[in-house]
Amino acid sequence: MSRPEPAQTHDPARHRLSPTRTLDIDPLIEDPATRIVVCCGSGGVGKTTTAAALGLRAAERGRKVVVLTIDPARRLAQSMGIDSLDNTPRRVKGIDDSAGGELHAMMLDMKRTFDEIVEAHADPERATAILGNPFYQSLSAGFAGTQEYMAMEKLGQLRSRDEWDLIVVDTPPSRSALDFLDAPKRLGSFLDGKLIRVLLAPAKVGGRAGMKFLNVGMSMMTGALGKVLGGQLLKDVQTFVAAMDSMFGGFRTRADATYKLLQAPGTAFLVVAAPERDALREAAYFVERLAAEDMPLAGLVLNRVHGSGADRLSAERALAAAENLEDSRIVDQEDGKAGLRNSPDTYGSSELPAPGTPVDDVPDGGSPATADDTGTSPGAGTNGTNVDTDSGPDSERSVDRLTASLLRLHAERMHLLSREQRTRDRFTALHPEVAVTEVSALPGDVHDLVGLRTIGDRLATNRLELPETP
C-alpha cells in the first residue's frame, strides 16, 4: 500500500473528507423549499435504503414525506408496510411523529401506473381497446424504458397532488444509472415522433388525393417495418397507436413537464455510490450528465464506507506484529522462556513510532530489564499442548493466537480502507465541486425502521462511527 499514513487523523472519527466539500443532509431535507429528492446511482449501492432513510429522517424532523420506491428488498418493504403492490402511498407506522411529521411510502407498480394514465385520458371504449391490445400489454409490463418512464410519471402525479412537503424518489435499478434520464424522453419522442405519423398514415391520410405521393412513401415505410416486425405485430402497433392518438400530445406535455420539474429549484439530486470502482465511475458519469441537463445536484452519498478506530496502526505493522506473536511463541515454547517477550514500553512513553519507521526499528521485546508482567510463571510454556484450556500457558498461547488474528483482521481492514480511499480520491479529483457525505458500513442489511434511523443518523452526521477507545 503506497498511501502514506494520513497525518491529519489524530482524531480518527473526524471527517475523512478534508479535501472535499461536505454534504449536509439535514439542512437539505429540512428546508421547506426542498420538495423533491431524487436518489440515483448504479445497482447494488443502497439507493432504496438511502431513499427510505432520508424519508424517515425528514418525517421525524417534522415534514410530511412520501417515499416512492421502485424495487425494495422484501423485508424492508414489509417493515414499512408497503409489501403489497397497490400503487398508492401508505402511511408508515411506528415513526416518531412528535415533530408533527408523517411518513408515507409506496412501491411503484408500473403496469398499474400506465393503465391509470390510459384510463384517465381516454374515453372508456378507447381505454378498453388500448388495455386489451397485445402490444400495449407487453409495453406496459416492463420493457426497457417503461419502468423509468412510469417512475417519472408517478413522481409528476405525486407532485401535482401537492399533499406532501417532500417527495423522496428512488430510481429504477437500471443497467446504467443514466437510463432513467433518457427513457422518458425516448418514449416521449417515440410517442410523439415521425414514426408515429408513419404508422398512423394508412388510417389517417386515407384516400385524400393531395396526400397520395406522401402516402406511397409512407406505405413503403410501413412495408419495411412490416418486414422487420412481422405484419401482425405491425398491425397491433398501428391499432395501439391509433387508439392512443388522442393521448400523444398529453404524453409529450407530461414528459416535458416532468423533465422541467426535475430541473426546478425545489428538486435535489443525490447520487448514491459505494466506494467501489464501478459504482463511483457510474457516479461520475451521472454527475456530468446532471450538469449537462441543468439538473440540480445536491451531492454524493457514499455508502458502506469502512473506518477503523486504530487507523494509526498500518496493515504492514499489524501483520508484522501478528507474525511476531505467532513466531515468538514457538521460540518461547522451545526455550521455555515465555516471560522474556515483554514489551520494553514503560508507562507514559507509549507513543507509536513516527509513521514510516520501519518495523524492524521497533523494539520488539526481549528487554531483560523488564519484569514479567504477564502474570504467568516463566517456564510454564513447556507444558504446552494443542488443547485450549483456561489455565496459564495454554490460555496465554490462545490469547496470542487470538491477538494475532485480531491484528490480521485489522490488516485486512486497513487494506480495505486504503482501497476505498483510492477509489474515492479518484472521484474527488475528477469532481472536487461535488459535496460528499459518507455513511459507514453496517455489518448486515437494514430491514427495519431502527436500521433506517441509524442510516439516517450516519447520513446526517457525516462521520464514520468508529469503534474507539473510551
Binding site: G44, S189, K227, L229, G230, G231, L325, G365, D388, P467
Partner: protein, 325 residues
C-alpha cells in the same frame, strides 16, 4: 460443458468480472472464447484496460497455454441493421427507417425485440462454423443483464409470442430459444454472501427453472478470508482486555498498561472483531441458504489489491482450479 455460458448476478456483485474470468479460464489450453457484452456499459473494455469496444469481435486477451479471448459489445441498433441487411438487403430503406426513429423504436421500446437481437447475436456466435466445419468459438460467455431481469431477457420466446405470432422476429425467437433451452447453455448466477443478493439468487434460480432455462453454477464473489473461526470468536467475547493488551505489547506495539499504546489498541481491535463476528454469523446463514439451492457452489476470494488485470487472471486460475472450466 455447455458452449454458451451466461453470467448474471445482482448489481454490484461483480458479474462482469466473473464473466471475464470465466472466459479466460475457458480459453486456457489453446481454446478460443468470445466474451459478449449486451448492456452497452463497456465494462469489459474497462476490465481489460483497453479502449471502448466497437461492435466487432476483437481479440482482447491471451490465456495461459495459448488460448484466446475475443470480445464483442453488441449494439442492438447495429445488430438490427446487420440483421436487416443479412435477410432483406434493406440498404437504403434501413437508413430511412433509422432516420424515422424506427430503429431506435425497435431496439429500445418495441417489446422483446431488443432482447431477441442481443441473444440472437450470441447464439449466432455459438453456432458459427469455419469453412472446415469447426466451431469458430469453443465457448461463448455472455455478460448478461442482472438476476432480476435475466429470465425475461432469455425467455424471449414467451415475451414475443403474444406479439409476433409469425414473421421474422418470431422465427428468430424460435431459433434462439432452441439454443437457450438446450444443454448447450448454462446460466450462472453471481452473488455475494449478503442477504439481498442471496435472496435474489434464490428467486432468480426459481424463475429460471420454472421457465425451463438451464441453471448452471452459483458463484459467490468477493469472499473475505476467514481470519477467525467460531471457536476464535467465542474467545473474542470472553478474553480479558488486559491479556490482549499484554500480547500486543509483547509483539512490539507499545505499552500494555492503561493508556499505553498497546492498551489503546485493544478496544478498536475487539470492536472490529465483533463486527467480524456479526458478519460471520450472517455469512454462515447465507452459505446455508445457498447450499439449499441445489446448484454447484463456487467461491472466489476478494482481491485485497482491488480488481485489475492480474487479479482477473488470478480469478481465472481459481475458477479453473475449482473445475469450472
Amino acid at each position: 460443458m455447455s458452449r454458451l455460458q451466461v453470467v448474471s448476478g445482482k448489481g454490484g456483485t461483480g458479474k462482469t468480472t466473473v464473466a471475464a474470468a470465466l472466459a479466460l479460464a475457458l480459453a486456457t489450453e489453446g481454446k478460443r472464447t468470445l466474451l459478449v457484452e449486451v448492456e452497452g456499459r463497456q465494462g469489459i473494455a474497462q476490465l481489460f484496460e483497453t479502449e471502448a469496444l466497437p461492435y466487432e469481435e476483437r481479440k482482447i486477451a491471451v490465456a495461459p497455454g495459448g488460448g484466446e479471448v475475443y470480445a464483442l459489445a453488441i449494439d442492438p441498433e447495429l445488430a438490427l441493421l446487420d440483421y436487416l441487411q443479412m435477410f432483406y438487403k434493406l440498404g437504403s430503406a434501413g437508413r430511412a427507417l433509422r432516420k424515422l426513429g424506427a430503429i431506435d423504436f425497435a431496439t429500445t421500446i418495441a417489446p422483446g425485440v431488443r432482447d431477441v437481437l442481443l441473444t440472437g447475436k450470441a447464439c449466432e456466435a455459438v453456432r458459427r462454423k469455419d469453412k472446415n466445419g469447426r466451431f469458430v468459438y469453443d465457448y461463448v460467455v455472455m455478460d448478461a443483464p442482472p438476476t432480476g431481469r435475466i429470465t425475461r431477457f432469455l425467455n424471449v420466446n414467451d415475451e414475443v409470442a403474444g406479439l409476433a405470432k409469425i414473421g421474422p422476429i418470431h422465427n428468430q425467437a424460435q431459433a434462439v430459444m432452441r439454443v437457450l433451452k438446450s444443454s448447450e447453455t448454462a446460466v450462472h448466477l453471481v452473488t455475494l454472501l449478503e442477504e439481498m443478493p442471496v435472496q435474489e439468487t434464490a428467486d432468480g434460480i426459481a424463475e429460471l427453472r420454472s421457465a425451463r432455462l438451464p441453471v448452471g453454477r452459483v458463484i459467490v464473489n468477493m469472499v473475505r478470508p476467514q481470519v477467525l473461526d467460531a471457536a476464535g470468536l467465542e474467545l473474542v467475547a470472553a478474553v480479558p482486555r488486559s491479556s490482549v493488551a499484554r500480547a500486543l505489547s509483547s509483539a512490539g506495539l507499545g505499552g500494555a498498561r492503561r493508556g499505553g499504546h498497546a492498551e489503546r489498541l485493544v478496544d478498536p481491535l475487539l470492536a472490529q472483531a465483533e463486527e467480524y463476528a456479526e458478519r460471520y454469523t450472517l455469512e454462515t446463514e447465507q452459505r446455508a441458504a445457498l447450499a439449499d439451492l441445489d446448484a454447484p457452489l463456487h467461491e472466489l476470494p476478494l482481491l485485497t489489491a482491488g480488481m485489475d488485470l492480474a487479479g482477473l487472471y488470478a480469478l481465472a486460475r481459481e475458477l479453473r482450479g475449482q473445475g469450472v472450466s
